[in-house]
Amino acid sequence: MTDLPILEARGVGKTFPGTQALDSVDFAIYPGKVHALVGENGAGKSTLVKILAGIETPTTGTLLESGRPIRLESTRDADRFGIGVIHQELNLLPDLSVAENIFVGHELRRYGVLVDRAGQRRVTRGLMARLDHPIPPDTLVGSLPLGRRQLVEIAKALARRVRVLMMDEPTSALSAAEVEVLFRVVRELTAAGVAVVYISHRMQELLRLADDVTVLRDGRVVGRAAAGEIDAGWIVARMTGRAAEAHPRETAASSDKPPVLRAGEIELRAGEIVGLYGLMGAGRTELLESLIGLRSSQDPVWLDGARIDRLDTAGRIRRGLAMVSEDRQRSGLVPTLPLGANITLAALRRLARAGYLSARTEDRAAAAQIADLGIRAAGPRVPITALSGGNQQKAVIARCLLTSPKVLLMDQPTRGIDVGAKEEIYRLMRRLATQGMAILFATSEIAEVRDVADRILVMARGRIAAAVTAAQATDEALVAAAGGGAA
């Protein structure tokens, strides 16, 4: 580490309303080196990358470029310093061609005004050849499979001649062969003096590629080491922040009863909590959505001995299935309805008398749920949007409970809510299981899945990669299984 860091963050903090995303983080990137950034979802990796890319401005701290303080107010500034980013959510325009995507915003010009299409095509061909994937430059991006799109995104960054390249989970959609190509390109880049920041959940990949490793947890740096001096266990211990010990709950399920829900490899018994662990994009949401009927499922789905995969969502809910979705704003809450109506929405038929919903019956049912789940609100008539994230989540759960489901599906039930509310939701899940409900919940937090679940299913690349009981599980094995079955 004789060189000056090409880009450095000193004491950088970032506060969003209600949360401290980053807290005095130091982070340095050196030319010709790969610096891996690890942490669980929500640890602050993406926020740090966004700050270094000029998308977000830090609340506290400074950024330095080759030792001089700089301000990155926009991505245009970052562009000027030669900082490029490959985002996890691909930022490609599906209706434009590969070449047009690669040069969008930086079009090659002729006579200063006309787009030099031929030149763009030529450069694109060269870039794709370098990535070992000679995709024709005129192919529409929307017609490419996800892995190829990721390569286009990488080509896009290469076309900029960057000095710093940040890659946020670039391999999540790539095949093993494509990963090798990517690694080769990264090595070429570092050989040419480019600094690379590499975010990934795949431990083996990290340890192979990285020179330095920095671990983030809850917005702080909790570990920093040269890659040669550490192993996967070291990283996982710091990521989860605890010794690899779990405290499993006494399960209420008995294995001699038939499963209440059965779909492919998934079996759920009454009174059982099953955790579905996996990384972003592993297919957890897709699995849960196929169970509830939002998408088609290959496997037949059996609920309480009856086949339900030919029913629509409403039919499955009537049979005793319910789902708390991952994204409250997008698919959980009805923002235009007050709290009470949000809670009663799934149980209107039961609450109505001869087709008429009396305001009293409805308010009473909602109020009972509000009290039972400890939702902090003045009453059923308050706007749902006035509630905190945790209370909104409880309202969505309350809606599901009013239908008296036999099986409750929960997709990241504690996403984006504070620690206190998380604990309340865990207690609620345990209580419901004790009362005989079967719960299948998806999460990307190891601590959560080990603390709450009786059994754990690990998902990777759209399939169940491993199934273990909570008592048998170790952090390291879960991370390895989720990372693509390399362990």
Binding site: A53, I55, S74, T75, R76, D79, V85, H87, E89, N91, L92, L93, P94, V104, G105, K156, L294, R295, S296, D312, R330, S331
Partner: protein
């Protein structure tokens, strides 16, 4: 930069083409085949509609919307007379849209029509389109409405709206007994004929100081509006003795409103001589209307087309004005579709 403005597909959308149920899957397949299906459907439609290549001469007849029986009668009469004289015809409506009219004239030029018979969509907006047709060697014969230019069309044959309005005005004065207050329903105020008619009415009526105009509103040639506006106007103006309307549909709407209010004795006079109105005059629901000889004009225009194509001249001046006729209960039985039977 691209990160900030990057296009992100909403995940909900992304999956919209993933077959959720069989029906959606079929839909996706249908979508892929849709352009082909559309082409086939259109092709068969054209095959059904398009006429055989013209062996005979064709006259293009273009009028406003046929939802008005006046224009329909006009177009029908022209087409019938042209058929008798051995011509093919194409009949189209421009819906009072000058742009649509321009397109229809282009089509007529492209199809090498021998002549165009046109009830135009605007006195000024039409001139340029007609010059284009004239330059292409296609003679144009205007009916019902004039344009603000001469030498462009071979003939402009119109009913004399001003004379007709004066006829209606004189009959109204007679029915009113030269005194009393009355209401007037105007046509669409941006329409030239609405202005000419009201001027014709008033040039007669205003000479009688005993006749007082209590209120005046536009009902846009519409029966529904004539009904509603009349209902409201009679609230403000009690003791009204007569209503004069710029066309028959408004007059019939007004009559319905007056009947609903129990004012059966009020005199209502219309304009146009539509079949409904003539029937209404016959049974006493309207006191009088003025018949525009639309069918006569249309037939005359086609006859002049024939003369022009065979002899090279119509033998008549460009501007020709055909007088309107008054329809009263006494003579209602003598009239048919915009002309004497």
């Amino acid at each position: 930069m691209y990160a900030q403005f990057g296009y992100q597909r909403s995940p909900w959308r992304t999956h919209s083409c993933v077959p959720r149920r069989v029906s959606t899957r079929r839909l996706c397949a249908l979508r892929r085949r849709a352009p082909l299906l559309l082409v086939l459907a259109l092709a068969s439609l054209f095959a059904a509609c398009s006429p055989a290549p013209p062996a005979r001469k064709t006259i293009a007849i273009i009028t406003p919307s046929h939802d008005n029986p006046f224009f329909k009668a006009e177009a029908d009469a022209a087409a019938a007379r042209a058929g008798e004289l051995g011509y093919l015809t194409t009949v189209n409506s421009h819906d009072d849209d000058a742009h649509r009219q321009d397109e229809l004239i282009d089509v007529a030029v492209a199809n090498r029509a021998s002549a165009i018979v046109l009830d135009n969509a605007g006195a000024d907006a039409t001139v340029a389109a007609l010059r284009k047709a004239k330059a292409a060697g296609i003679p144009c014969f205007l009916i019902d409405r004039e344009i603000n230019a001469t030498g462009v069309a071979v003939a402009q044959i119109v009913s004399n709206n001003y004379q007709g309005a004066q006829l209606g005005g004189q009959e109204f004065v007679r029915l009113m007994g030269e005194k009393g207050s009355y209401l007037e329903l105007l046509g669409r105020e941006s329409d030239n004929n609405a202005q000419i008619r009201t001027r014709g009415f008033h040039d007669v009526i205003d000479r009688y100081p005993g006749l007082i105009l209590a209120g005046q509103q536009s009902a846009n040639w519409s029966q529904t509006e004539g009904f509603q506006k009349m209902e409201t106007m009679i609230q403000a103006h009690h003791g009204v003795k007569g209503v004069i309307a710029g066309n028959d549909t408004m007059a019939l709407g007004a009559r319905a409103a007056l009947e609903a209010a129990g004012l059966d004795k009020v005199i209502v006079v219309g304009f146009d001589g539509s079949p409904d109105a003539i029937a209404a005059v016959g049974r006493g629901a309207l006191e009088a209307t003025v018949l525009q000889p639309a069918s006569v004009i249309a037939r005359l225009a086609v006859e002049e087309v024939h003369k022009f194509l065979t002899t090279g001249a119509t033998g008549a001046p460009e501007k020709q004005s055909i007088d309107c006729e008054l329809v009263t209960p006494a003579n209602a039985a003598e009239f048919g579709l915009f002309g004497r039977k």
